[in-house]
C-alpha cells in the first residue's frame, strides 16, 4: 500500500518535472537505457551528474566572485554544464546555461 503510494508519488513528481520543463525527452532516452542489467542506471547517471555539476557550479561561483569577470572562462564552464545537462535531459538547466552564455558573450556581468 505504501509502496504503491510512493510509486504514484514518484510518477507524479516525474511527470511534473516534464510538464514544468525541467526535463525533456533525453531523460526518457536515459530511462530506456536502463534495463535489468543495470536497474539503477538512471540513478547512477543522475548522481554522477549532480556531483559533476556541483563541482562545476563551485568553479563558476568562484569565477563570478572575481571583480573582473573572465567571460571566456565562464563561457567554458557554461559550455560544459550545458553539455552535461543536455545529456541527461535537464532542459531547464540547459536553457539557463544558454542564456548565461549569451550574457557572457555580450559581456553582461549583471545578467
Amino acid at each position: 500500500m505504501e509502496r504503491t503510494q510512493l510509486r504514484r508519488q514518484v510518477a507524479l513528481t516525474r511527470q511534473s518535472l516534464f510538464d514544468q520543463g525541467f526535463l525533456d525527452e533525453q531523460f526518457i532516452q536515459l530511462e530506456d537505457l536502463q534495463d535489468d542489467a543495470n536497474p539503477n542506471f538512471v540513478e547512477e547517471v543522475v548522481t554522477l551528474y549532480y556531483r559533476d555539476s556541483a563541482r562545476l557550479i563551485t568553479n563558476i561561483e568562484k569565477a563570478l566572485e572575481k571583480n573582473s569577470l573572465d567571460f571566456n572562462k565562464l563561457d567554458g564552464f557554461m559550455h560544459q554544464f550545458k553539455g552535461s545537462s543536455s545529456s541527461i535531459g535537464a532542459k531547464k538547466v540547459k536553457a539557463e546555461c544558454t542564456l548565461f552564455r549569451e550574457y557572457c558573450r555580450a559581456g553582461n556581468g549583471e545578467g
Binding site: D32, L33, E44, V45, L48, G83
Partner: protein, 676 residues
C-alpha cells in the same frame, strides 16, 4: 580494455550481399570525454548497440591506449572541448598515427566548429545530447574507411592503381572526404571479410610479399623500363612476370619506392605525406606514396640504380656525389634487400620516410595507418641500412625524415620489425662500408647494428617513432640507423631516436618538433647544416611531427647528435652529400637513443657527441673519401661514433653536396613504388 578480439562469431556471417547483419555488433569503440556524465551515458548507449566500449576521460590516456593496441579499436568518439588537449588535435593525431575513423561530438553546434571538425578529418560530428540512434550508425564510418583502404591496397580490383592511390591517400590522410563510395558492394564484401579478420589486423590482410633482392631488382628494372612516370603497377607486374605477385603488392612497393626516391632526391613536400602512409603500412596508406611520385622521379632514377647496381652507381648518379665510392654497392644493395626481406614495405617506409621527411613534415603522421607499424619497423631496420642512403636524402628533405620518424614513433610495432631488420642488417653492413655514401649509411647501419646487435634491439631502428615501448628499440636502431641513415638527424631515422627520449643526452632540444625523437634530429640538422637547409627541414618536419611523441629526451639527444652530425656532415658533406649528413646526425641520435637502451646506446650518446666533435674537425679538414672514413670510423667505435665520423667524412667529402644527392640511394628506396 576491450578485448581486441572482435566477437568473431558475429562476424563470421559475412553475407554476400553486403555487410553482415552482425557486423556492427562487437565494434570496438573508444570514447573520450571529460564529462563523466556524458561518458557514462555514451558507454551505456554503445553497449546497447552491442559495441565494445572503452571509455577514458583524458586525451592522453586515449592516445596511449590507442598506441598500445594498434588494432584494438575500430573507431574513436571524442569530445571537442577537453581540458588537457583540444579535441581537434587529438583527432589529427589519431588520424595520423592510426588512421582510425574519429567522430567528434559537442554541445556546440556552431557551423564553425563543425567545419573545423571536417577540416581536421573527422568522420562525423554529433551534437549533444547524443541520441542512441546516432550511435547505431557509426559503424558505417568503419566500413567506409576499410573500403578505402582496401581499394588502396588492391589496386587491380578497382580501377587502376591511381584510384587506389588516391583513395589510399585519402584514407591515409584520414580525411573522411574521400569516402569513395564506389565499389561499395565490392568493398563491403571485402570489408566484411576484413571484419572477420579484424582480429588479426586492422587493415586488409594481404599475404605479405617479401621483396627479395632479386624481386626488387626486377621491380626496379621494370620501373626503369617503363619510366618513372609511366610505371604503373599493372605494367610493372607484367614486366616482372612473377607468379603470385599481385598488383597490389607492386603498387605498394612502388609507393615505397617512390618515396624512397623522393627522399633521395630531396624532394620534400610530398614525401612527408607519403612517407607516412608508406611507413605505416603497406596496405594502407599508399596515398602518400603517390605524392612522392612526383619527387620520386629523381629518387627513382637514383634508386633504381642502386638496386641494380651497387650503391656507387647510385651515388654517382643520383646523388651526384663525387666521392661516392662504388665500393660498397653491395652493402647498399644488401641493405636494400634487407629491407625488402624484412618488410618490403618497411623499406619503403623508411625510404618514404626519408622522402617524406624532406618534403613534408607532417604528413607522416597522417599517412601512417596502423598497419604502418610493421612496415615502418621494417623500414626502420632497413633504415639502418638504408638510412645511410636514406639519410642522405633526408638531409635534403628535412621533412621526410621528420615524418618518418614520426611514423616510426607511431609504430611501435614497427620497432620490432626493425629490430629484426636491423639485426639482420648488422651482419650485412659490416661488409659494405665500402661505398662512400653508403658507407655512411652502412657504417651507421653497421655500427648501429653492432650497437643494436648488442643490445639486441635489432628491431627497432625505430629511430623515429617508437612509442615508449619501442623506444629502446629506436635507440638501437638508431645506432644502426644512424649508421645507415645518417640522415637520421634529418631523416626520419633520426627522429625516432630523438623522440623517444631514450637518448640520454639531451643535447639540445633543438628539436622543436612536436614529436619527441624525430624532431630533434631534424632540428639539429637544420641548425647545423646551414647548407643543408633542406635536410634540416626534414628534421624539423620530423620534429614537428613528433609533436605527439614527446620524447624530449630523445630530442635533445638527437639534436645533439644531429647537430653534431650536422656540423660534421655539413662541413664535410661535400663528399657524401646529404645522405651522410643525415646519417651523421642520425648517428648521434642513435647513440643517444641506443645508448640509453643498450650498451651501445649509452656510450654512444656520449661518444657520439664527442665523436661528433671530432668529426667536425675531421670533417672539415679532411675530405677523406667517404668510404674510407666511414669504415674507419666505424671500426673505431662501435657503430655510432664511427657512423658519425663516417658521416662527417662523407660530409666533408660531400662538401655540401646538395641534399639532392641521394646518397642513400640504396635501401632507402625499399619503398614499394606506389601503384602508379
Amino acid at each position: 580494455m576491450l578485448n581486441l578480439g572482435y566477437c568473431k562469431g558475429s562476424m563470421s556471417t559475412a553475407s554476400s550481399g553486403g555487410v553482415s547483419d552482425q557486423f556492427p555488433a562487437g565494434l570496438r569503440v573508444l570514447v573520450v570525454d571529460d564529462d563523466p556524465t556524458c561518458l557514462v551515458i555514451l558507454e551505456k548507449m554503445l553497449r546497447i548497440c552491442l559495441y565494445e566500449v572503452t571509455k577514458c576521460n583524458r586525451a592522453e590516456i586515449a592516445l596511449s591506449l590507442l598506441r598500445e593496441n594498434r588494432n584494438g579499436y575500430d573507431i574513436v568518439i571524442s569530445d571537442v572541448h577537453m581540458p588537457d588537449m583540444d579535441g581537434f588535435k587529438l583527432l589529427e593525431l589519431i588520424g595520423l598515427e592510426m588512421d582510425l575513423p574519429v567522430i567528434m561530438m559537442s554541445a556546440d553546434d556552431g557551423k564553425n566548429v563543425v567545419m573545423k571538425g571536417v577540416t581536421h578529418g573527422a568522420c562525423d560530428y554529433l551534437i549533444k545530447p547524443i541520441r542512441i540512434e546516432a550511435l547505431k550508425n557509426i559503424w558505417q564510418h568503419v566500413v567506409r574507411k576499410r573500403k578505402n583502404e582496401y581499394l588502396e591496397q588492391s589496386g587491380s580490383v578497382e580501377e587502376g592503381g591511381d584510384r587506389l592511390q588516391k583513395q589510399s591517400e585519402d584514407a591515409d590522410y584520414s580525411s573522411s572526404a574521400n569516402e569513395g563510395s564506389w565499389k561499395n558492394s565490392k568493398r563491403r564484401k571485402d570489408e566484411e571479410e576484413e571484419v572477420d579478420e579484424r582480429d588479426d589486423t586492422s587493415t586488409l590482410k594481404k599475404p605479405r610479399v617479401v621483396w627479395s633482392v632479386e624481386l626488387h631488382q626486377q621491380f626496379v628494372a621494370a620501373v626503369n623500363q617503363l619510366g618513372i612516370d609511366k610505371a604503373v603497377p599493372k605494367k610493372i607486374l607484367e614486366l616482372m612476370n612473377v607468379p603470385g605477385l599481385t598488383r597490389e603488392n607492386v603498387a605498394s612497393h612502388l609507393q615505397k619506392y617512390r618515396l624512397y626516391l623522393r627522399r633521395l632526391s630531396g624532394v620534400s613536400q610530398h614525401q612527408s605525406g607519403m612517407g607516412n602512409s608508406f611507413i605505416s603500412t603497406q596496405e594502407a596508406t599508399y596515398g602518400s606514396l603517390s605524392s612522392l611520385n612526383g619527387l620520386d622521379l629523381q629518387t627513382l632514377a637514383a634508386a633504381s640504380q642502386i638496386p641494380a647496381q651497387s650503391l656507387a652507381t647510385l651515388q654517382a648518379a643520383g646523388l651526384g656525389r663525387s666521392t661516392a665510392k662504388p665500393r660498397m654497392p653491395m652493402p647498399i644493395v644488401d641493405q636494400r634487400n634487407l629491407f625488402s626481406f624484412e618488410n618490403p614495405k618497411l623499406r619503403f617506409g623508411e625510404g618514404q620516410q626519408q622522402h617524406l621527411n624532406n618534403g613534408k613534415q607532417i604528413n607522416l603522421l597522417h599517412g601512417i595507418p596502423t598497419t604502418m607499424e610493421p612496415k615502418q619497423l621494417a623500414n626502420m631496420h632497413h633504415s639502418a641500412q638504408s638510412l645511410g642512403s636514406m639519410n642522405m636524402q633526408l638531409n635534403a628533405h628535412g621533412d621526410p625524415s621528420g615524418s618518418l620518424l614520426m611514423q616510426m614513433s607511431q609504430q611501435q610495432s614497427r620497432g620490432q620489425i626493425l629490430n629484426e631488420a636491423t639485426s639482420s642488417q648488422v651482419p650485412r653492413l659490416p661488409s659494405s662500408i665500402g661505398q662512400p655514401i653508403v658507407n655512411n649509411a652502412l657504417a651507421s647501419g653497421v655500427l648501429a647494428r653492432n650497437g643494436l646487435a648488442e643490445s639486441g634491439r635489432g628491431t627497432g631502428f625505430n629511430p623515429v617513432s617508437q612509442s615508449s615501448s619501442t623506444m629502446n628499440f629506436p635507440l638501437n636502431t638508431t645506432a644502426e640507423l644512424t649508421a645507415t641513415s645518417f640522415a637520421l638527424g634529418s631523416a626520419p631515422g633520426v627522429p625516432s631516436l630523438t623522440s623517444k627520449g631514450v637518448f640520454p643526452e639531451d643535447i639540445n632540444s633543438e628539436i622543436k618538433g612536436p614529436g619527441g625523437f624525430i624532431m630533434p634530429s631534424y632540428d639539429i640538422f637544420s641548425d647545423l647544416q646551414h647548407h643543408r637547409s633542406h635536410e634540416w627541414e626534414l628534421q624539423n618536419a620530423g620534429m614537428t611531427f613528433n609533436g605527439s611523441q614527446q620524447s624530449n629526451s630523445l630530442q635533445s639527444n638527437v639534436d645533439v647528435a644531429s647537430s653534431v652530425l650536422a656540423h660534421q656532415g655539413f662541413s664535410s658533406s661535400q663528399s657524401n652529400g646529404q645522405g651522410r649528413n643525415i646519417s651523421a646526425v642520425g648517428k648521434p641520435m642513435f647513440s643517444a637513443g641506443d645508448a640509453t637502451d643498450h650498451v651501445n646506446a649509452q656510450s654512444l650518446g656520449q661518444p657520439l657527441n664527442n665523436f661528433f666533435a671530432e668529426n667536425l674537425v675531421r670533417v672539415k679538414t679532411e675530405r677523406v673519401p667517404d668510404a674510407s672514413l666511414q669504415t674507419t670510423l666505424f671500426n673505431e667505435q662501435f657503430g655510432q661514433e664511427d657512423l658519425m665520423s663516417a658521416l662527417l667524412k662523407q660530409q666533408q667529402q660531400q662538401a655540401g653536396i646538395g641534399p639532392a644527392e641521394n646518397e642513400f640511394d640504396f635501401d632507402g628506396y625499399s619503398l614499394d613504388n606506389i601503384p602508379v
